[in-house]
Each structure stands twice: as C-alpha cells, then as structure tokens.
C-alpha cells in the first residue's frame, strides 16, 4: 500500500506479553495495513507486519475495545479498538471502504482512530479481548482527580497487623475517631455504644462505685440513663469486668 509514515521498524516486546496472535490483519479507518502479529503486552499494544515494520499503541490512549462478531456490520469477526488521537492515514473526506464509519472530521471534537484486528483464528478473539482488559487495568488514569486514591493504610490489613504484633493503633478521642470512620463504621459504632450503654448501668450498679471520671467518659455525646446506685450494695461480691 501507500506510505504509512507512522509505521516503523522495531523488535517485538520481550517481557510481559499477555497474548500474542500471529496471522492477524489490521485495518485502520477501513484500510488494510497487511498481515502480521499482534502483541498484547503489559507495557503497550504492538503489531508487527511479517516484514518487521509495525506500530504500537499506548494503553492510556485507548478509550475502548470490543469483540465484533456481527457479520452484517463487518464481514469478519475482529477486535475493535478505539484510540484517542489522529493517525496519519486518516483522510477527512473520501469514500470509506465497506460502508463502515468514517473518521470524525469535526474540528471541535476529539479525533479518534479506529483499528480492527482480524485474526485468521477467530477462536482467539476471547483471549485477545481478555488480555486487552487486563493490560488496560494496569494503566489507570493518572489524571483522575475525581477520587482520592491516596490511602494511607485506612484499610485494616489483617496480615500486616498480625506480623507487626506490637503495633497497636493509638486511641482516638471521640471527635477524631468519628471523622476516620466510614458510614458503615459509624453505624457500627452507634450500635456498640448502644450495647455499652445498656451494660454500663448494670456494671456500675454491681460494683457500687461511680467515679467522676467514669461519668464524664460515658456522657460524651451519649444519652446514658444510669439508674441510681446504692453504695456498697455488692461490696463483698467478686466482680469480673
């Protein structure tokens, strides 16, 4: 075919190749670039023609991929890949082969490129698709400011905890601790405090002792209805707290 200037000569990837599919034709915007081998590697996606020239795609530039088996839309089952960006073979006008989608030529819309990888072995499409999914997941969006991914051990890592047996977390004051809890944690805390409130009154009745400190501790943010105590009621009792 004509000069495809984005094609260059390079060696196939050596490491992290999750899937390799020989005898795979690739089409860009409906034009065939020839037959070669598709390498779905952890670092990038590469295709090399049998002559040794080819191209690579970086996963962050790939917005979606899919398996197409609808022969009424496209005559061969293939792996479809949509890439953000322009590749030099795209033309703004002109007839498009086989009636498939033309490239969007609007200036104010992000340009996209559509690749179709047609393996001679159709049964490989599942594996190719899955390998793509796995590799995409290895390249999460670095610009994602939507979510706070900066977690400093908020998750209770059980294994780590068991290994560092001396490392007991510090005790939070009520307000501090509350802000560290998820909604579920807060609900659990309320439940436990409710249970504690019920047991507090009996506990302190049994001991017959109420100190100023203990009253303050249990009145923090909690409605505790402690029944009046008869001092020394169980003086001789042995109490296990």
């Amino acid at each position: 075919g004509g000069a495809m200037s984005f094609l260059k000569r390079f060696l196939p990837p050596a490491d992290g190749v999750r899937h390799q599919q020989p005898d795979t034709e690739v089409l860009l915007a409906g034009r065939s670039l020839g037959a070669g081998t598709l390498y779905i590697a952890e670092s990038r996606l590469s295709w090399l023609e049998n002559s040794g020239v080819g191209f690579s795609l970086e996963y962050p530039t790939i917005s979606l991929h899919a398996v197409s088996r609808d022969l009424s839309a496209y005559p061969w089952e293939h792996l479809y890949i949509m890439v953000n960006g322009k590749f030099e073979e795209e033309t703004k006008e002109g007839p498009v082969a086989e009636g498939e989608d033309k490239e969007d030529s609007d200036d104010d819309v992000e340009p996209i490129a559509e690749f179709r990888f047609v393996p001679s072995d159709k049964s490989a499409l599942e594996a190719m698709f899955s390998a793509m999914c796995e590799c995409q997941a290895l390249h999460p969006d670095p610009d994602d400011d939507d979510s706070d991914n900066d977690y400093e051990g908020e998750e209770y890592d059980v294994e780590a905890h068991e290994l560092e047996q001396g490392d007991i977390p510090t005790f939070y004051t009520y307000e501090e601790g509350l802000s560290h809890l998820t909604a579920e944690g807060q609900a659990t805390l309320e439940r436990l405090e409710g249970m504690l409130a019920q047991s507090v009154s009996s506990q302190y009745n049994m001991a017959g002792v109420r100190t100023e400190d203990s009253i303050r501790e249990f009145e923090d943010g909690m409605e505790v209805d402690i029944a009046p105590v008869v001092a020394g009621q169980f003086e001789d009792a042995e109490v296990d707290h």
Binding site: S63, V67, R69, D70, A73, D141, D144, E162, I168, T182
Partner: protein, 123 residues
Amino acid sequence: MEISHSVKERTIAENSLVILLQGLHGHVTTVDLRDESTATGRVTNVDAFMNVRLAEVTFTDRQGTVSHLDEFFVTGRNVRYVHIPDQVDIRATIERQLQAIHRIRYFGGRDKGRREFPRAKHK
C-alpha cells in the same frame, strides 16, 4: 458481585461509589461515554478504576450509528455516566458489596480468628 483480590482496589471501592457499580454485575445497563456514544449491555465487571466490561452490547457511536458487539470494555476515564437500572435497590446493593468486602477482610483466607476492630489502648 466479585470482590477484587487487591487490598488497594478494595479500599478504593469501599470509599467511592464505584462500589455501587460493582454491584451491578449481571444487570443490563447503559453507559454514556465521554464522547457521547453509548453502550448498552450486561455488566460483567467493573473495577476500582471504573473500567467497565459489558457483554452483548448495542453500541451507538457519536454519529448515531448502531453496532452490536459481543464483548465491550471501556476505560474509566471515558465513562461519563452509568445508568442504574430502575429495579436496582441502590442502598441494598452498596450494603451488600460492603459486607462482601468485610467478609474478605476479616474472615477470608485463613482460619485464625480475627478481631473486627483494632485493639484500643486504654488510658
């Protein structure tokens, strides 16, 4: 309803609404993409980065052309909106996902007894 094997991914999911999307496994859902195309299909996986995998998909591109795709994967970055099906109880779904995460965190893998909360130092 698969929970990730990664501690980091579980933490991310637990602290964002991705956890709701992860509860949509098996449901037919429409995903609106950043470029205004849409994909309707059955959710097979959503990860912590909001990458969405669908099966049996009707895809409408930004020009309105419809195509049918067997398997479909879109990166989280390109997802604008995920439609929650009417029959999904959002609150129950989130709670169920949280419970699944906590089962793994506290009881998964080993037989050793696990404390649910870290011990607190007493004054």
